[in-house]
């Protein structure tokens, strides 16, 4: 019965006895007790190769005190994932390009149609809208403008082409339909070229058309009538109108698709511009006074959409020169926008819950990172990490449960808006007046990278360059910003 030492990974087990009467399998079982490696995975080097389960100890000539090496682990055998990844190389040829580039194709300029191209690119960046359009197949109903349908269908086809194509897409059909529906876009210059148009007008009209035709995906029967566009972009404003003279008050609510950012000499930042945009003065006939008088209208947001559109009101009609002039003032805008201040009291109360949850998850993430750094000691730290995060999760649930306003929401399965928005697309204008210059769309991709869609040419951009589009010079200047809501998953 020779005793040997067995080396396994970096450990050495000394004084292991071999019962040479028994088959080596018995020896392997001995080692199984020591190492936990199942006998069938054990590989032991002996003279001339590996130790066989039914080998003969005599022939192997194992000597007293010899060192054997045991290889093998109890690790799980890696299995191929059931659904293997799809590789570009496997895709049909025409889809390889977009997949490889990581962004969609550009749009060909059909003669001063950059306003349209940039609008389409911006709207194309909203996945929910794309999805809704994809499923759009409603037939032309009676009593509906057939052009509404054909323009929606044209948008659907154009979006589809953009998703697939490698090369720049020429939106000829879309343009024709658009011009048919809105003849003002078909205006031509003396030279027979299409005239430059206002992208904001195009945006508004296009959204109007889509809002007329698109219904939400019928998940449950009741929601069928819920229009998609309103759900995605509609901002419900609650306004208080106060008469300066009679101090009478009235309130009204409306749904708009864009928040206006007014640009005046005091406005340096989007926040200030929005505040001004929500406050206006208007002449109105007072029912009490019986004559027209100055009213102050102050609006607050009552419902937040998943996508918040902000328009910089940088064009105004200049009477003296009879043209649309542009304010070149620099108005900064953030990559992350918090609209909490513009909300009504009720909405604020509603937002509190999700915001707290959101804040906590953010904190947890930061805390997580901190701990990872501290825990250089491998597994131990990892275990700590596991316990600590789960503790936090429990706390969070408790917190949410205690809060009265969020307690109702807990049951809601849908994620809730937090009033915090991320910038996802910017439509910029470059030039001195609305009817000239150039429109470009800057769109954030799923990968977090920014692409500048300059008509047919998509160009990769850095995030810090996006905030530089705030105007104040002849460079591209933000005209419409599209923000996407950050959501918190209620517990």
């Amino acid at each position: 019965m020779p005793t040997v030492s067995v080396k396994w990974q970096k450990q050495v087990f000394t004084g292991v006895e071999i019962d040479t009467e028994q088959v080596p399998y018995v020896f392997k079982c001995q080692l199984y007790d020591l190492t936990g490696v199942p006998p069938e995975r054990q590989k032991i080097t002996v003279k001339g190769g590996l130790l066989k389960d039914d080998g003969d100890w005599e022939n192997l000539g194992v000597k007293e005190g010899q060192r054997l090496m045991l290889m093998g682990t109890a690790d799980e055998i890696p299995k191929a994932p059931e659904k293997g990844p799809v590789f570009i190389e496997d895709l049909p040829e025409d889809e390889q390009g977009t997949a490889a580039l990581g962004h969609t194709a550009g749009l060909v300029n059909l003669g001063n149609t950059c306003y349209m191209n940039s609008t389409v690119q911006c709207l194309h960046s909203v996945p929910e809208l794309r999805l809704a359009l994809k499923e759009y197949s409603a037939a032309v109903g009676t009593g509906i403008d057939p052009l509404l349908h054909s323009l929606t269908a044209a948008t659907r086809d154009l979006f589809g082409e953009l998703d697939k194509s490698l090369r720049p897409v020429a939106p000829i059909h879309f343009l024709t339909v658009l011009q048919k529906k809105y003849p003002q876009f078909a205006q031509q210059t003396n030279h027979g070229l299409y005239m430059q148009q206002d992208a904001e007008e195009c945006w508004t009209q296009l959204l109007y058309v889509l809002s007329q035709r698109l219904q939400s995906v019928p998940q449950d029967e009741e929601e069928v009538t819920n229009p998609v566009v309103e759900h995605l972009f509609g901002i419900e404003l609650k306004s208080f109108i106060k008469c300066a003279e009679s101090a009478e008050e009235s309130s009204e609510s409306e749904t708009v698709y864009t928040l206006k950012c007014h640009i005046s000499s005091e406005v340096n930042h989007l926040h200030e511009g929005l505040k001004q945009g929500l406050k206006s003065e208007l002449e109105k006939t007072s029912p009490i006074l019986g004559h027209s008088t100055l009213h102050v209208k102050e609006s607050h947001i009552n419902k937040l959409p998943p996508y918040l559109t902000v328009q910089f009101v940088c064009f105004f009609w200049k009477r003296e020169s009879n043209q649309k002039a542009k304010i070149l003032r620099k108005v900064g805008y953030p990559l992350v926008l918090d609209v909490f201040d513009f909300c009504t009291e009720e909405l604020r109360a509603k937002l509190k819950g999700p915001r707290k949850v959101y804040q906590e998850t953010e904190d947890a993430k930061v805390g997580l990172k901190k701990k990872e750094k501290e825990g250089a000691e491998g597994v131990k730290a990892l275990q700590n990490l596991g316990t600590s995060t789960s503790d936090e999760n429990v706390e969070m649930v408790d917190d949410a449960g205690q809060h009265p306003s969020s307690s109702e929401k807990v049951c809601a399965p849908e994620p809730e808006v937090t009033g915090i928005y991320d910038l996802v697309a910017v439509l910029t204008h470059k030039g001195r007046s609305a009817d000239s210059g150039h429109y470009v769309a800057w769109v954030k991709q799923d990968s977090g990278k920014w692409i500048e869609f300059d008509d047919e040419q998509p160009i990769l951009q850095k995030e810090e360059d996006i905030t530089r589009l705030s105007g104040g010079g002849d460079w591209h200047m933000a005209y419409i910003c599209l923000y996407k809501a950050r959501v918190a998953l209620p517990h």
Partner: protein, 900 residues
């Protein structure tokens, strides 16, 4: 006499200058004339000397022998005592010049033998300035003169004599005349040179008269170092077989002064196992023996120490462990920890896409198998040897988040999975105990590609290290004959990597049947031949050669046309790596092969056999091969281009010339030559990013021919391998945005990026080490295999056989200096690291490094860097501070009171 000198040299200065233009020249001319005039009318002292000498000359021709003798002695005295500056002839010689002819003709007439010898001495000295070129009169009269102290006539005289002896010796060799009288002179001159710090001249003289062995007895403790450094460095310029002779003398000298580590280096360079063994037998100090083992391990030589070579069994085990190189991983990680680079890096950390200006890919939304494969390689190269990374070895606890180790593997497609699994081996490089458990689970996969990769990983982990339990063979031997060709290739290549240079007989028995089994695919046979070539590299093994040649003869024309058939030739070539004319017999056989492969095989054999020899004739032969403009279909020019580089890489001068020749090939060569040139440039400047080569490659990386561009891109990685060179990294980043639409070129760019950041900048691919004195055969073989793989980029690297890239593992070595105490524990000492200066043949104790900085060990050494200890407290046991160096306490060291 003294005041004369400045004026004389002054005048010489004027003569050297071109005549100054215009009015000034008139003034100068006047001045010159004045000088000449002054020369003519000598000072009184000189005048007296001149007259005196003339009188002696007259008296020498006197009839009275007594007067003659007095005159001769006086003349001799004058000559001997005359001193002179470096630029002028001693006065007595100058004044005697007009009488040279007269003295010579009188000499012929003289009868008195004794006086005749006396006069012969004088004439011999005068001949120093008078004799016509090629007359060798100085030597001639010396031989007829008295046999006196040769040094008494001054150093210049001896040097002149030595030169004439060389010429005379050659003359007599041709005419087959005896040379005994010359040898007597040589025996006088050599000690004189050696005594006067002119060892190189002594060596040169002895080389001329072909009796270098006389040197040994004259060298002493004070000058053996300079002598040996001269011998070893000029050995590269001596044609074989004389170079071995030169090295042999150096070896004897080192042995004589018990400098065993240096002697071992010379013995290894000569590839003389007998010498290696006798060094071990002679070396008695245990620490020094350990140092010897470290040197052996670096060269990758496995030596079995039997009873005589080690003092006790216990010591034997320690030494054997050092030779097995199993401490390499530990040392490398010590360095990494000291430099704080243990944190794993991801491919994205290397690509640094945020630094790319302007247009670039926004990152694929869909996984690209090719780019994932590139990321696999980059990850493997960058984290090579660290044992941890962020793709393959992520602990399974994180598998919940979907990033488990298995998932990256399966992000590779088909054969890509093989390379991905094999990358585990590279990540755990040299760490057999830690690496095999990582690989283990993949051996049980149900995917043949994964198994093949795991087998290859086993080979890679064991590359360059030997484990007493020999796990690689045990794990791989059975899979070699599996049915699936991919699995077989994995196991075969794994064996080749694990046992490269070991000449293991088991491997021979296992693989030779595969090589000449014509039933297996040519690709399996090709890899088997290549693995055998690696295992028996430079051994000229007959059995292996036979089986490969048989395979080359038996295979059909179609099979020989496959890209992997070239590996058969390469395997054959590696057997003769650096063995020069030992290849001749096989070369004759190669000429009889099928025409499809014959030429390719011959060139490959030639380029391997003369690789690292610096043989100029071979370089010329290859160049002339490249001059031909061939019909399409011939493929032998590409290995010829590589051959130029492989032969010329031996020494710096030839290397520079080869780079210039390659430039010509680029200009005038055909496309198939141009495609190989970037690779040749790569190997010439491997891990040594020279600006000129970098610029050439950068230009070629935008070449219109995509294969030239690909080769140039990969070569950029090769020349920057393991250097983290910022300039190359920048170039590659730009290339990655330039080629973002071309997946093949982008793949090459990624590979190059991975290579540049190999081991996070702690590694090198340079096969030369120990101050560029030694060439590691195994490393060179790995590089050649990789280069041959890259010659046919499209079908091999970009095809299914990308794991050929792992042949580079054979050349990977840490570029470090770790100092150890006598218990082999790391010891931190200050060292100066700077640019190495060539001090060969310089007198005195010149500085060996320049522009140095002081660091504390362990320290990183760049190519061309040299280190020296900055403390007197320790004495290094190896004169070359590279790799592992054991330090001994200096017994004479006294602690400085001020510094303590």
């Amino acid at each position: 006499m003294a005041p004369e000198h400045p004026k004389e040299s002054h005048q010489m200065d004027h003569d050297a200058q071109p005549p100054p233009p215009s009015s000034k020249s008139v003034v100068k001319d006047a001045k010159k004339k004045k000088d000449e005039k002054k020369d003519e009318d000598l000072s009184e002292e000189d005048q007296a000397l001149k007259q005196q000498l003339e009188l002696y000359v007259e008296r020498v021709q006197d009839v009275d022998p007594a007067i003659q003798k007095v005159a001769l002695e006086a003349m001799r005295e004058e000559i001997r005592t005359a001193t002179s500056s470096m630029t002028s002839v001693p006065k007595p010689l100058k004044f005697l010049r007009p009488h040279y002819g007269a003295l010579k003709s009188y000499y012929e007439k003289m009868v008195n033998a004794e006086l005749k010898r006396y006069l012969a001495d004088v004439i011999s000295v005068l001949a120093l300035t008078m004799s016509e070129d090629g007359d060798r009169e100085s030597l001639c009269f010396r031989l007829q003169g008295s046999v006196g102290d040769i040094g008494s006539w001054g150093h210049e005289y001896v040097r002149n004599l030595a030169g004439e002896i060389g010429n005379e010796f050659q003359q007599r060799q041709i005419e087959e005349q005896p040379v005994d009288d010359l040898m007597d002179l040589v025996k006088q001159i050599v000690p004189f040179h050696v005594k006067h710090n002119a060892e190189p001249e002594a060596v040169d003289l002895l080389m001329e008269v072909e009796s270098l062995d006389l040197l040994v007895e004259h060298i002493d403790k004070g000058n053996y170092k300079r002598t040996c450094s001269y011998l070893t460095s000029f050995a590269s310029y001596v044609p074989e077989p004389d170079d071995t002779l030169v090295l042999d003398i150096a070896y004897q000298l080192y042995c004589k002064f018990e400098k065993y580590p240096d002697a071992l280096r010379v013995a290894l360079r000569m590839d003389n196992t007998q010498y290696v063994k006798s060094i071990f037998a002679a070396c008695k100090d245990f620490s020094e023996k350990q140092q010897l083992c470290y040197i052996l391990a670096r060269q990758g030589i496995s030596l079995d120490l039997d009873g005589e070579l080690a003092d006790s069994n216990e010591q034997r085990d320690i030494l054997q462990e050092l030779i097995s190189n199993s401490k390499l991983s530990e040392g490398y990680l010590t360095l990494a920890r000291d430099l704080d680079v243990m944190e794993p890096k991801t491919p994205d950390d290397i690509y640094k896409a945020h630094l790319i200006d302007g247009r670039a890919s926004a990152g694929a939304s869909v996984d690209s198998a090719r780019q994932n494969l590139a990321a696999t390689f980059v990850n493997a190269f960058v984290n090579a040897g660290f044992g941890q990374d962020k793709l393959m070895t992520v602990p399974s606890t994180e598998s919940l988040t979907g990033s488990s180790s298995g998932s990256w593997l399966f992000k590779n497609k088909e054969h890509g999975k093989a390379s991905a699994a094999a990358s585990l081996g590279l990540i755990a490089l040299w760490d057999v105990d830690g690496g095999l458990p990582l690989v283990d689970k993949y051996l049980y996969s149900n995917d043949n590609h994964v198994i093949a990769g795991a087998l290859l990983a086993v080979g890679i982990v064991n590359c360059g290290v030997h484990n007493e339990c020999d796990p690689a063979y045990a794990l791989l031997c059975e899979s070699v004959n599996k049915e699936d060709p991919t699995t077989r290739i994995g196991a075969i290549m794994g064996l080749g990597l694990a046992y490269a240079g070991s000449q293991r007989e088991e491997v021979l028995k296992l693989l030779t049947p595969i090589v000449h089994d014509f039933k297996v695919g040519i690709e399996v046979a090709g890899f088997a031949a290549l693995s055998l070539g690696l295992v028996y590299v430079g051994s000229c093994n007959e059995d292996v050669a036979q089986s490969i040649i048989l395979a080359l003869m038996d295979r059909s024309e179609a099979e020989l046309g496959e890209p992997l058939a070239h590996f058969l030739c390469l395997g054959l070539g590696l057997l003769y790596l650096g063995k020069q004319d030992a290849v001749d017999a096989t070369m004759e056989v190669a000429k009889t092969l099928h025409e499809k492969i014959s030429k390719f095989c011959q060139v490959t054999l030639d380029s391997c056999a003369y690789a690292g020899t610096g043989n100029v004739l071979k370089v010329q032969a290859f160049l002339s091969l490249c001059g031909d403009h061939l019909e399409k279909g011939d493929s032998h020019q590409a290995p010829a281009v590589l051959g130029i580089a492989l032969v010329a890489m031996a020494e710096e001068l030839g290397l520079d010339m080869a780079i210039r020749s390659l430039e010509h090939l680029l200009q005038y060569g055909e496309q198939n030559i141009r495609r190989a040139v970037p690779l040749a440039l790569g190997i010439l400047s491997i891990s040594n990013p020279k600006i000129s080569v970098m610029d050439t490659l950068s230009r070629l990386s935008h070449d219109t021919d995509s294969e030239v561009a690909m080769a140039a891109t990969v070569s950029l990685g090769i020349i920057g391998a393991g250097t983290n060179n910022a300039r190359i990294a920048g170039m590659l980043r730009n290339l990655s945005s330039y080629y973002y639409k071309d997946p093949s070129l982008l793949f090459c760019v990624r590979i190059a990026q991975g290579l540049v950041h190999m081991g996070k900048g702690l590694l090198t691919l340079n096969p030369y080490h120990s101050d560029r004195f030694m060439l590691s055969n195994v490393a060179l073989a790995g590089l050649i295999s990789f280069l041959h793989g890259s010659l046919d980029m499209k079908s091999i690297i970009l095809g299914k056989y990308h794991y050929v890239l792992y042949f580079l593992v054979l050349a990977i070595q840490p570029r470090m200096l770790i100092t150890l105490d006598e218990n082999l524990k790391p010891l931190s000492v200050p060292v100066r690291v700077g640019q190495a200066v060539d001090v060969v043949g310089q007198a005195g104790r010149p500085k060996t490094i320049t522009g140095f900085q002081t660091h504390t060990t362990p320290v990183l050494l760049a190519t061309g860097d040299r280190a020296e200890l900055a403390t007197e407290k320790y004495i290094p046991l190896s004169s070359v501070l590279e790799g592992f160096v054991i330090l001994k306490l200096n017994p004479d060291y006294q602690q400085d009171h001020l510094s303590s």
